[in-house]
Symmetry: C2
């Protein structure tokens, strides 16, 4: 067996173990008994220890060197495998095993503490755990960045290879004034009321399952459960999603589901030849989020699809007090005065993300201390949105991310929106009559286009490259802003 | 840090990874999407590879030697830790890693094939997988036994250290004629009809949950799900059980639950100081089964407890056509003409086990080929029970065990019954007024006695020793037979 084949066989086992670690996280958020948290932290740490040892095995360096020499330059797939394996190897070498294990242990514990603190509206209870997780991640960021490097960029690149905070900040800076202007214009025209009344949660789950299937989710290789925080988990033949239900807000369940289905379909669509390899998953969180957001928004919240969904919801829930398809479209896309990122409309969503992006950069830089985070959040929210956060669960405690150490992750949400804008423009050029499908509740040609252009490639191409190949142009914020302005300006009357 | 402390810290991580592997099996039987089977086989194999490497790490030999020298002879707990670690280490060394991984992979696949073959009543479909699993286990048994050793005994001792097939066969041989005589006498008095009608499965699950709590299962460190084959899984702070429901037979759900709760309570009751150590689990499958069986039978099917359960079932399901407590007790303990081991009454249960014990010894010895297994099963069943197996799901395909490689496991069921007989005699001597509690639906003094005498010790003492310490006498089949004859002879009229 040549060096390349040996390396791929070795990587296959590592990937399989990575899937096991992922399944353990899924279990923790869906199935694990409450009293198992401390033991689970040990289990997760032990798994991270195993993965760290495998990913930093010195044989990898030898295999890589030999394989790089033995492979032809034009063998694109093999070259990409080596690129991804080398990236993972070099990353792992920079982080001591003890730190990787401590992070696994502390984040497993902190997640439970966050959930309790959130339920009890008690920020102080969360602070020691947050401080410890932040301390460890700052240490990790410094180790990854090396001398003279930027710790935040290093963390960001775990989720978005090639990206830098400065470049993202520039793109987001260009988006911000146009988003604020659009928001103010639409909100100035008066508030559209949301839904009222109660929506049976079992029926919500039934309908969300129907939507999941319509958007192409393969339940033979997946499953849907409930969790506090909707997420997608796993790759290849076992890609699971979660959703949540709120009796007064069926859109929470339905659109969370479509969103996670976007993530899950990406993982399920990756070329099976890449299964349990370094290419066998979505290439970055930004590209991942582009899939979830285009499923959820550009497709799921389109006028055409809303027309179909209105009829389906009337069949399911009876008359829920919305007069017609047009009114329903306005309700689905209303610009409310909300606090929660995951429930935000398309215009304000990125404002929520930018707030987090700025705060977490300050945390990682050491310019903001965890003890001052709540006040900083509340101040910034008041400035950005014009009204005050009423309680921590609607403010600084709303997201699970920081508890599990996800610093550098939030900006990939806005980057994903930006990519979704690019992809949507290209998709509409290629499928000009798509609305006729969507009006029948059938997004399959659109999801097929995304599967072909983006999803099947897994990590074969870099994040920017896969978007550029799909769209025929370098990614920019322009298509997203044009789409949003075209969709929402009419709401300003 | 001394050698002992280093070894314990190392073992702690290994135990944590063992828990992860166990959780993966639980997931496979409860949550895993069908289409994930092939990928899961790779994941399980990779986990077994990791565990094998850790358990055969040459440092363990050095730590063991140094720790054995440094520890005082009277340090019972530490000595027991070393004994168990050494046992695991020496076992692992005998089995090549490739074989351990192949077994994990093939059993993960065979389990799915068994489930399909069982659903389709198609033995032929299961045969290739069974042959492969048997081949690998025979190879493993030979490796474990070494030259001149007995492969079946070696496999048996994975589940029941110290036991040999010859010794078990002798004890079971002594039980058999008295069981058959008792069975024939009771059945000769005429058949007691079972329940008729339908029992809402949601209500069954509610009641089974109530029973689980009454028998001491801590749901804060566990959970109950449904699976094809009820089982208990995990140790310490995360011990999960499964149950199943049959609308026409609520006893299936209720007594499966009590049975698995017996297993789970054992794991949950182990001294927390032994958590994630080699002592932190039940000491053998025989002792494990003694707990599940005494919960299920000697307590759960006692006249006193049945009296309480009758009232509770009337409250839950209304009038289900059984006139009074005494009639209910007879229905719960009826000696039907059944095919299914897990649904068998206390008298015939061991006859089901002895059939499997003899067949699997022949399979492992090579005296019986998988292709002849169904015929051998059906012949033997006809001889032992006097009527014919109507279809494979009620015969050779009824149990999951062989598909997952559990050869040498079945006899621990009968050994567990034998141990349960010993424990029950001692329990009744210590708590002569126990029936008053059971008649109120409260087995807590009995489960407390078992916790104190058996469960909390985990693997501190060997299997025979823990039973002997609890009962004050060496284990024998006599107490079980006396209990059964006392309970069932009156049914012969």
């Amino acid at each position: 067996m040549g060096a390349y084949a040996e390396l791929i066989a070795y990587q296959r086992e590592t990937e399989a173990l990575g899937q096991v670690a992922g399944r353990l996280s899924w279990d923790q958020e869906t199935m694990m008994p409450r009293g198992a948290a401390a033991q689970r932290a040990e289990e997760s740490a032990a798994m991270q220890g195993v993965l760290h040892a495998r990913r930093s095995d010195p044989r990898i360096a030898d295999w890589l060197a030999a394989a790089e020499a033995e492979l032809a330059q034009e063998d694109t797939v093999a070259r990409a495998q080596l690129r991804e394996i080398r990236r993972g190897y070099e990353r792992t070498l920079k982080v001591p095993a003890a730190l990787a294990m401590a992070l696994a242990r502390e984040t497993a514990l902190a997640q439970g503490i966050w959930a309790e603190a959130r339920a009890e509206e008690d920020v102080a209870r969360f602070l020691p755990a947050l401080s410890e997780v932040l301390r460890l991640r700052r240490e990790e960021g410094a180790a990854l960045a090396g001398a003279g490097g930027d710790a935040y960029d290093a963390l960001l690149q775990d989720y978005e290879p090639e990206a830098t905070a400065a470049e993202l900040a520039a793109m987001f800076g260009a988006m911000r004034p146009r988003l604020v202007a659009l928001r103010d214009k639409v909100q100035g025209a008066g508030e559209v009321p949301g839904l009222s009344g109660a929506f049976d949660t079992a029926l919500q789950l039934e309908l969300s399952r129907e939507l999941a299937l319509a958007f192409g989710y393969d339940l033979n290789r997946g499953r849907i459960d409930r969790a506090v925080h909707p997420f997608s988990s796993g790759s290849g033949a076992d890609v699971r999603i979660t959703t949540r239900t709120d009796p007064s807000d069926p859109f929470n369940c339905l659109y969370s589901t479509i969103h996670e289905v976007g993530h899950a379909c990406y993982e399920q669509a990756v070329d099976p030849d890449f299964g349990l390899s370094a290419l066998g998953r979505g290439v970055s969180m930004g590209v991942h989020e582009s899939q979830s957001r285009i499923y959820e928004n550009q497709l799921g919240r389109s006028r055409a699809f809303c027309g179909w969904l209105y009829g389906r919801m009337r069949e399911k829930f009876g008359d829920f007090g919305v007069a017609d398809e047009e009114a329903f479209f306005r309700v689905v896309n209303r610009l409310g005065r909300g606090y929660i990122r995951t429930e935000a409309d398309e215009v304000q969503y990125n404002l929520h993300v930018l707030l987090r992006f700025d705060l977490e950069r300050a945390l990682v830089a050491g310019d903001l201390l965890p003890g001052d985070l709540e006040a900083a959040w509340n101040d910034r929210f008041q400035r950005d949105f014009g009204y005050a956060v009423p309680k921590p669960s609607q403010g600084v405690l709303q997201d699970v991310h920081w508890s599990v150490g996800l610093f550098g992750y939030f900006p990939t949400y806005s980057l994903g929106n930006l990519y979704a804008g690019c992809l949507h423009a290209a998709l509409r050029r290629d499928l000009p009559d798509l609305d006729a499908d969507l009006a029948r509740g059938d997004p399959s040609r659109a999801t097929g286009w995304l599967r072909e252009k983006v999803q099947r490639h897994g990590a074969l191409y870099g994040p920017r490259e896969v978007i550029e190949r799909a769209c025929g142009a370098a990614p920019s914020e322009a298509p997203l802003l044009e789409y949003l302005e075209e969709k929402f300006t009419p709401f300003a009357g």
